[in-house]
């Protein structure tokens, strides 16, 4: 196994190989997309997520008002806790803010945390799982015991501790997700790698002198990607719930409009009588999380046919 050799061959035909790999990646993606398309459940879930993503991206154009822009009645008084009307389709809050606008602006932080969380879960979880499973021995032992120890940190209390010490901000949740949400993915990916690495083509690649890095990148990672994608899809939902929960408890930046902050305000101001104020953010979170579940489960049923029969 000589690394220099492998790099040399790679650099000579670098361009064509890269093109080839890109084409293969494109084919894989296309076939996966076709697979997903077969599940109505997955398609519905993806549509839900895309709808909220669109809402987040176009927020500056579709939101009627700024999230914290006070609405005044003709006589100059605040429009406090007004029920839905043509002018304010979802009514107003106790501070006279437009609920619909807050809802639309709030989707930005939700989708940001959702996608970033999913990305981190996929990258960190897959990385740790592949390295532990492929190298085995002490590396495996080290990584997995580290995972075991992190399992001992309960997520919400841990983020609260972080927020207490470093001050309330959106980044506490993101830090918590990066530290704690990839553990299950790593475990599952690792056990998958343990079985993949026994297959003959890995032997063949080793015999041909491919480096460890190359074997992992070219032969192992592509095979665990469907699994990572599944966990990433579900992580979109988990991350959004996590962000909303922490914001609800009051450990996120209250000036950044988010669904969790809206619900916290409702709760603290005893505004539960205003259904138009607390139902929209709660239902929005539920729908995105449901979308993530459906996308993940639909995909899972296609990839594991014994689940559907």
């Amino acid at each position: 196994m000589s690394d220099t050799n492998a790099t040399a061959t790679e650099s000579t035909t670098d361009g064509s190989r890269r093109r080839q790999r890109l084409r293969r990646l494109g084919e894989t993606l296309a076939s996966q997309a076709k697979t997903v398309w077969r599940s109505k459940m997955a398609v519905f879930g993806i549509c839900l997520i895309l709808a909220f993503t669109l809402m987040a991206v176009t927020a500056p154009f579709i939101a009627p008002y700024e999230p914290n822009e006070r609405q005044y009645a003709d006589d100059g008084s605040w429009k406090t806790m007004e029920s839905p009307s043509a002018e304010h389709p979802l009514g107003t809050t106790d501070d006279g803010y437009d609920v619909l606008s807050q809802l639309i602006w709030g989707s930005q932080i939700a989708m940001f945390v959702g996608y970033l969380g999913a990305f981190m879960v996929a990258v960190i979880g897959t990385g740790a799982g592949v390295v532990a499973g492929y190298y085995g021995g002490l590396v495996d032992e080290g990584v997995m015991r580290f995972v075991d120890i992190l399992y001992g940190l309960p997520f919400i209390p841990f983020v609260i501790v972080i927020a207490t010490i470093f001050g309330a901000s959106v980044w506490n949740v993101i830090f918590g997700i990066a530290l704690l949400y990839w553990l299950t993915t790593a475990r599952v990916v690792r056990s998958e790698v343990l079985s993949i690495k026994e297959r003959p083509y890995i032997e063949a690649a080793k015999a041909a002198g491919a480096s460890n890095l190359r074997i992992m990148r070219v032969h192992i990672v592509p095979n665990v990607l469907p699994l990572s994608a599944l966990y990433a899809a579900i992580a979109v939902g988990y991350s959004i719930t996590a962000q909303a929960s922490i914001a609800f408890l009051g450990f996120s930046d209250p000036t950044v409009p988010s669904w969790g902050v809206m619900l916290q305000r409702v709760f603290n101001q005893q505004g539960l009588d205003a259904w138009w104020w607390f139902l929209p953010p709660g239902i929005s979170i539920t729908l995105v999380v449901l979308g993530a579940y459906l996308a993940g489960r639909g995909y899972d049923e296609i990839v594991n046919p014994q689940l559907q029969q």
Binding site: Y151, P157, V161, Q309
Partner: protein, 329 residues
């Protein structure tokens, strides 16, 4: 069967986990600019008490000395004094633990009974329209953030219908003599209903989906066919023959679930003003009552670590196919 070497290994890992979590916590709390007493609201802590706190915790000593002192105190069960209550953290926490466990155990027992039953049922009616409808309901319940579920139930059953109290553990003025009266009175159950229902709706999803997936595997086994050929009733086959084998992974998930349920517990205690550990942690973190926040977190983490340990042991005990290293053969 239980292997002594594995048990010892696992115990050692639990000890190391606890040690690392405690150490991490110690250094995290020392990151507060100016030390743990600096962020106190002026006047909240009299100067002489502040000096005493600094003295007791050795806050003016080098970091490593503080760490040794912290660990020594911890081993002796001393978690320091709460800034807010002015009492030892350990005695404040003790009563909260019981309240938290009362809520948590009720919710987990209900959701696991319900989840196992419904999961077996769903696995059996696979492919019918009824199954699809039930699955959608289950997935919606599982997607709803637990605190929103709590708020929603509060809106319907307390604010609109007025059936249940809006929070707390007992009515104002209701006195409780001894533990028995505290936890076995009509008043207590009345307060318990909404938080338990919110938590259960959320927790049921995991055992239910696990049970359903296991059932799908089990019902293809030959002995199920044999049972059918023997002419046993459907009910008997599902709940006596199939469910018994599908239940193993759910039992292990039970212990892990207690660990995972901590987050939901913190949220629901906050929504329903339940005087438990979770709410105490949120309140003390908001008040910058660091010793209290630290103590509650330590207890929650200990609970999680212990439950993970129990889950691993149960797993090897219940499933003889698992070898000594905890790997499947």
């Amino acid at each position: 069967m239980l292997n002594r070497k594995y048990l010892l290994q696992r115990l050692a890992l639990m000890g190391i986990s606890l040690f690392i979590v405690v150490t991490l916590l110690f250094f995290l709390f020392r990151q507060i600019p100016g030390g743990p007493t600096a962020m106190m609201a002026p006047g909240a802590l009299p100067e002489d008490v502040r000096q005493q706190v600094i003295e007791e915790h050795g806050l003016n000593e080098p970091l490593w000395r503080q760490y040794v002192l912290f660990m020594t105190n911890l081993v002796q069960g001393d978690l320091g004094y709460s800034f807010y209550y002015g009492q030892p953290v350990s005695s404040m926490i003790a009563s909260r633990v019981v309240n938290t466990l009362a809520l948590m155990i009720s919710a987990i027992l209900i959701s696991y009974t319900l989840g196992i039953y419904l999961g077996a049922h769903l696995g059996w009616i696979r492919g019918t329209t009824l199954e699809r409808v039930e699955m959608v309901i289950v997935l919606i319940a599982r997607s709803t953030p637990v605190f929103f579920m709590g708020l929603f139930l509060l809106y319907i059953f307390s604010f609109q219908l007025g059936w249940f109290p809006v929070g707390g553990m007992r009515s104002v003025g209701a006195s409780a003599d001894g533990a028995f009266q505290t936890f076995f009175s009509i008043d207590f159950f009345h307060h318990l209903v909404l938080p338990v229902v919110s938590l259960s709706l959320f927790y049921t999803g995991l055992p239910l989906l696990l049970m359903r997936n296991n059932m799908l595997e089990v019902i293809t086994e030959e002995y199920i066919e044999t049972a059918q050929a023997k002419g046993l009733s459907r009910r008997r086959i599902v709940f006596v023959h199939a469910a018994r084998n599908a239940i193993l992974p759910v039992v292990t998930a039970f212990a892990v679930a207690i660990g995972f349920s901590i987050g939901g517990q913190v949220l629901i205690e906050t929504v329903f003003s339940w005087p438990g550990l979770g709410r105490e942690m949120v309140d003390s973190a908001t008040r910058n009552d660091y010793p209290m926040a630290q103590g509650t977190f330590l207890l929650l983490a200990t609970l999680v670590i212990t439950m993970n340990f129990v889950a691993d042991i149960l797993y090897t005990y219940l499933d003889p196919r698992v070898s000594v290293d905890g790997e499947s053969e």
